[in-house]
């Protein structure tokens, strides 16, 4: 746990001093277990004018293991309509949160990746298996075995 708390403390100091990436803001970071951010996409995109909520939960062996990251469905937030975001639970199918995770990534780089995932979206649609996944999905997206088959967005 020591490496996780040390690194998260460091990340939090940097996020507070230098600010999180442009377009994102800290909503909650009272401890080293769960952080919340608001996120919007800069410039022209299908999500112009919309703001979403992201919830990060950190495992004890972070950064060896990826954090659990979902779009919030509470506190007035709704997940974006996006082919890689499940509408009922806000789970995100994004390879860097799964098998492409690397311990050199951090909260800031995840926020940037999610911004870019939204920015490059060409069509507002739900994932093809949105309804079925919504009914059977595990509580944590980290327990889902996503197949990362679409690199275009």
């Amino acid at each position: 746990m020591r490496i996780a708390s040390k690194r998260l403390t460091k990340e939090l100091v940097e996020l507070r001093n230098q600010g999180p990436p442009e377009g994102t803001a800290i909503l909650l970071a009272d401890d080293l277990k769960e952080w919340r951010f608001s996120i919007s996409v800069l410039g022209e995109s299908l999500y112009k004018g919309q703001t979403f909520g992201l919830r990060f939960r950190f495992p004890d062996n972070y950064p060896m293991e990826s954090p659990e990251v979902i779009f919030m469905t509470t506190d007035g937030f709704k997940p974006p309509v996006h082919p890689h975001v499940y509408s009922s639970n806000g789970h995100i199918c994004l390879s860097i949160l799964g098998n492409e995770w690397s311990p050199v990534l951090n909260v800031s780089s995840i926020l940037l990746s999610i911004q870019s995932m939204l920015a490059s979206c060409k069509e507002l649609k739900h994932p093809p298996d949105d309804e079925r996944y919504g009914r059977h999905a595990p509580m944590s997206p980290k327990d889902s075995r996503f197949v990362y088959d679409d690199d275009s967005v």
Binding site: K6, R7, P63, V104
Partner: protein, 98 residues
């Protein structure tokens, strides 16, 4: 003229031989000359491990990562298969200096 030296105070300074001495370990994000997330004393007790891909990490940091991915160990930075740069490289360098 003879000078009698009464006392002197030597000062030594060390740093790891990294590409950029001010760089940090990508995993713990602490200075290379500092300690990993679990050690207290920098130096020989918390050494660096160099990969053939030219990326280096604190030994304790990279080992934790490699142990978790022992079937397919990859460099966390470039995702190339992780191979340790052997001492040969350093022997060559020191031999060249002599």
């Amino acid at each position: 003229m003879k000078v009698k030296l009464k006392s002197f105070t030597p000062v030594a300074y060390w740093h790891w031989d990294t590409r950029d001495p001010d760089d940090v370990c990508g995993i713990c994000q602490n200075q290379f000359d500092g300690v990993c997330g679990t050690c207290k004393e920098p130096g020989d007790g918390c050494p660096l491990l160099f990969g053939k891909c030219t990326h280096e990490f604190h030994l304790h940091c990279i080992m934790q990562w490699l142990e978790q991915h022992s079937r397919k160990p990859l460099c966390p930075l470039c995702k190339r298969p992780w191979e340790e740069a052997t001492a040969e490289k350093y022997q060559e360098e020191t031999a060249a200096q002599q």
